[in-house]
Amino acid sequence: MKNALILARCNLFGVMRNLEVLGSLDQGFQDLARRREMTVQFIVKGGPLGHLSFNGGTVVMKEGRGRSRIILSFTSPDHFNRMVEGKANPLPLKGFTRLKFLTGPFTEMTGLLEKYLRPDEEALKDPVKFKASTILTAYTAFFSLVEIANHDPVGRACARAIPDGTIQIGINGGPGIQIHAQGGTLRAERGYAAKPRAILSFRDLTSAHAVLNGCADTFTALALGDMEMRGFIPMIEHMNPILEMVSLYLK
């Protein structure tokens, strides 16, 4: 069952983490992030703690506390989730003088992210936007998967069954995501592993977009070669129920 705490973790470490890479996909974001030097701390009571650092165009999301000049506080995971949906505002505890950043560039940045994650049909006709949307959707899905695997009770039961090793998720001609499994705990990392134990790859961006957005089922995609899996398949089989839970959380 959907749990506000897990959803908050997905939103912070799955969805908002995409700000780390948005600059490489969108010139507008690059322009907004350039020359920014600050850290935004997110404190969710009874929920996740994370900070987002802007440093000369580079953006890094980390779990825990950072040396922040802006602190955004939320009374509950639900409060944070409503903020992500645009239905609530955070309580700034520190950095009132930087409210202009929050209400201006930061809001524009998250707005850009939302446009890619919830694109309209017109936007998807543009190959550049289609590519960016697909890549960000993939990152969202697999980074959120890790949050569910490590924190949701059913997700944890599934993750415990995943044998140790690295699952390589890849989009041919596109980015890779590594899911490292160790003792039932998962960790996601962008990029390609030298020696994965299992590989789940998409034929191209189109097939990745269709599967990740629920427009194609994985069994058919695998049978038709739009997706391919190789290696120690129990890793992928036990990961799949968690991937299905991502769509329940981030519907």
Binding site: A198, F219, T220, A223, L224, G225, R230, G231, F232, I233
Partner: protein, 421 residues
Amino acid sequence: MENLYTNIKSRDLFLRAVKVLPTGIPGHLGPVQSQFIPTSAFPFYAERAEGSHFWDLDGNRYIDYMCAYGPNVLGYNNEAVEAAAREQAAKGNCMPLPGRIQVDLAEKLVNTIEIADWAFFLKNGGDATTFALMTARAATGRTKVIRIEGGYHGVAPWTQGPGAAGVLETDLKENLMAPWNDAEAVESLMDAHRNRVAAFIATPYDHRIFADNQLPAPGYWQRIRELCDKHGVVLIIDDVRAGFRLSMKGSAHYFGFKPDLACYCKALANGHNISAVVGRESLRSAASRVFFTGSYWSSAVPMAAALACLGELERLKGPELMISLGEKVTAGLKTAAEKEGIDLVISGVPSMFYMRIANDDSLMMQQEFCAQCALRGVFFVSHHNHFLNCSLTDDDIAQTLETAARAFKAVAEKYPENLKK
């Protein structure tokens, strides 16, 4: 240049299938569940089958080591079985009353399987395991069942794992899990859940997928029997997969112990749809009280086929024959692999051996080997134990080993860094 198989007509049919069938091929014969890696190397559909062979839609012939995942035990289209089925079909199949064949078959099972005092007929292996569990619950008034981690007992919700689509946490809450070959863990569970465990269910040996199959440790089953007796727990053997490939008297007999209930399906009727639960006298009353039935429960044709199949297996000494054939196949495969620096690990009972290339821990070499075999007409899968059938000939084995040698060579060329020096 070798001519490798292509599967154009299978692909074309699959494109039609995906429009009208979820996943195109639902169930364990689907290309994903079957671990066809890559899918392009394998056929998706069979046109016909005979003996140890099947032909795909493109006319390619395969020597088959999956035997429809077990049901083909005598050879596809076995004449004795099919003649019995035809004869019964001419008399009647689904009728308003069961045919006399139901009693004949029950008597045959009671006289064949060591522990059987009665028999109950169903349609699939999963029906049998669920009925067995319900019988145990009816007999004991308890709810919990001890299962083996990684064990497979069908697809009813209680047999599945957390997170499986359509399965609720409440479906699984009565399951207690123990590792295979760990009688102490079973004892701990029975102690911790005293008077609440209805049944212990396991396969006669550990033939799970994706792992080397493990035989029972010396004394394991005898200890489990003692624990079940001590705690009043019903001991259920899921002999669906192994039944009649180890011993006509039941796989429990092969391993020297006596369960309370035993479940059969695959090899029972050489491909005709029927399963059975057999049990000891003490559980007859409980089995009588469990209402478990279906539209085709008493169909007589599969019962006639089963009766003929059991007769043929006895005549041929089927289990011993299949074990002997499996020994020949696996010894040849190991030799062919070694020539290429490939470490092929064979496990399980030879009549349903599991094989794994151990040069790496990812199964990628294993998957490549199975694909290369499929492209040359030998049907292996990379994740599951294989099945022998009584009709396999020495020529089939020789052809298999020639093909395997070429496939191992192809694997060695693709993964030179993994080969044994």
